[in-house]
């Protein structure tokens, strides 16, 4: 193979335009954490299984440890750093806080972004839908009951005070 190939990409990251040049094998998680300094995105299993690295790509919950950075060329990417606005937490973040839906916190960014995606597609999910969606993310502290309650609480907050 000759000179290392790099690919110019442009994406909207947390509402701002980002131009970057990435090697084909660069993962989105590495672009976010190492290039952009957005370390709120966690790498847990590094197998696209645990959900800690979940970010939103054009609204879809996406494993950033298994998505090449260039796959987000032209897309809108949202990380946990992109949720709070004007000094106010997002309703999902508020709900996780109110329900004590985290212990060590490592899974929390991915959990919150998974919940954001769920509530964008289903503003009033039932428990079965919440469990189906959130079961894609693993909490090793096993705080699942509070997480389910937090998603229900977030749905209520977002219905009552739409942003």
């Amino acid at each position: 193979m000759s000179a290392p190939e790099t690919i110019p990409i442009t994406l909207t990251l947390n509402g701002r335009a980002l131009r970057a040049s990435v090697a084909p094998a660069t993962m989105l998680a590495d672009l976010l954490r190492d290039h952009c300094g957005l370390t709120g995105t966690k790498i847990g299993c590094d197998q696209a299984t645990c959900g800690a690295c979940t970010v939103l790509v054009s609204g879809a919950p996406t494993a950033s440890c298994a998505t090449f950075a260039w796959q987000t060329d032209g897309a809108a990417v949202t990380t946990i750093e992109g949720l709070a606005a004007n000094g106010a937490l997002d309703p999902v973040q508020e709900a996780f806080k109110a329900k004590s839906a985290f212990q060590c916190g490592y899974c929390t960014p991915g959990m919150i972004l998974a919940a954001k995606a769920l509530l964008a597609q289903h503003p009033s999910p039932d428990r079965a839908a919440i469990r189906d969606w959130m079961s894609a993310n693993v909490c090793r502290c096993t705080g699942y009951q509070m997480i389910v309650e937090a998603v229900e609480d977030a749905a209520r907050r977002m219905r009552e005070a739409p942003r």
Binding site: E5, P24, A25, Q47, A63, Q71, D132, W133
Partner: protein, 276 residues
């Protein structure tokens, strides 16, 4: 691209382990047209759509010189009713399949089955074509398509289309372009996945016919048509299971156990669909 005869072995777990940092450098092609993608495949490129199958394999050490990304080809992502069939682009994701109004109207049992496949991240990334072409006998889409008597349409480097039944022994070379599922009045579909990875069973049945496909039990999914008969579900399933070739024996289960489950699951699903 793999041919149908080059399936991965049942129970092959090599692709589960490895870090993304271990992925070897590769070249990237991002065609905008399907014909360009087919030409790139003919020259040795490897397709990537959702990456659900290929990326874990690359973590585990599979070296790919050139990736042909299909995500930029809009024509692969469409779903339409065409005559008496539903035409689904190979790049349609599971989430699209589970949520599409045309599929929900024409094949509600298929849409419902796909709402329960994998997790929500996988459902938003994984494509139907990727699942079929991965050639993994544990995967779900090919048994479902075989039972539904679907046709796979491939595109070669010159843009010519060639169609083949999903249950055919050999498939054409080229890019999987679309999947056409015939719409048959009164046909019901059931997909039993509760015994994976031992076995999976897809069943499509109408008043006169039933087609059954088994996943996880052979080097590639196996499909059989049940002859019209007035026999009870138990008797039909007994005959079906007895006449099966010997299923794979591996660390997951013995062939004898898989054969027994084929009988049990077919009985259960024939009863559930209310078809003898």
């Amino acid at each position: 691209m793999r041919s149908a005869g080059m399936m991965r072995r049942v129970g092959d777990m090599r692709t589960i382990y490895g870090s993304h940092a271990a992925i070897a450098p590769f070249r990237l092609l991002r065609p905008a047209r399907a014909e360009e993608a087919a030409a790139a495949l003919a020259e040795g490129g490897v397709c990537l759509a959702g990456g659900v199958d290929l990326v874990p394999a690359m973590r585990a050490g599979r070296r790919v010189e050139r990736i042909v990304w299909l995500g930029g080809i809009a024509a692969l992502k469409t779903i339409e009713r065409a005559g008496g069939a539903l035409r689904i682009g190979a790049g349609v994701t599971y989430a699209q399949l589970a949520g599409d109004a045309a599929i929900a109207a024409a094949l509600p049992d298929l849409a419902a089955a796909w709402r329960g496949v994998a997790n929500v991240r996988v459902r938003h990334a994984a494509t139907i074509g990727g699942n079929v072409m991965a050639g993994n006998p544990q995967y779900d889409m090919l048994p479902a398509l075989m039972a539904l008597d679907a046709t796979l349409v491939f595109l070669d480097a010159r843009g010519r289309q060639e169609a083949v039944n999903a249950a055919a022994e050999r498939w054409p070379q080229g890019l999987l372009w679309s999947i056409e599922i015939p719409l048959v009045a009164g046909r019901r579909f059931a997909f039993e996945r509760s015994f994976k990875p031992v076995i999976s069973l897809a069943l499509a049945a109408d008043a006169g016919h039933a087609r059954v496909a088994l996943g996880c039990a052979y080097e590639r999914p196996l499909c059989r048509t049940l002859a019209p008969s007035g026999a009870a579900p138990e008797a039909l399933a007994e005959t079906f299971a007895r006449e099966l070739p010997e299923p794979v024996s591996d660390w997951i289960a013995s062939g004898a156990y898989r054969r027994k489950l084929a009988r049990v699951l077919l009985t259960r699903q024939l009863r559930a669909l209310g078809r003898p």
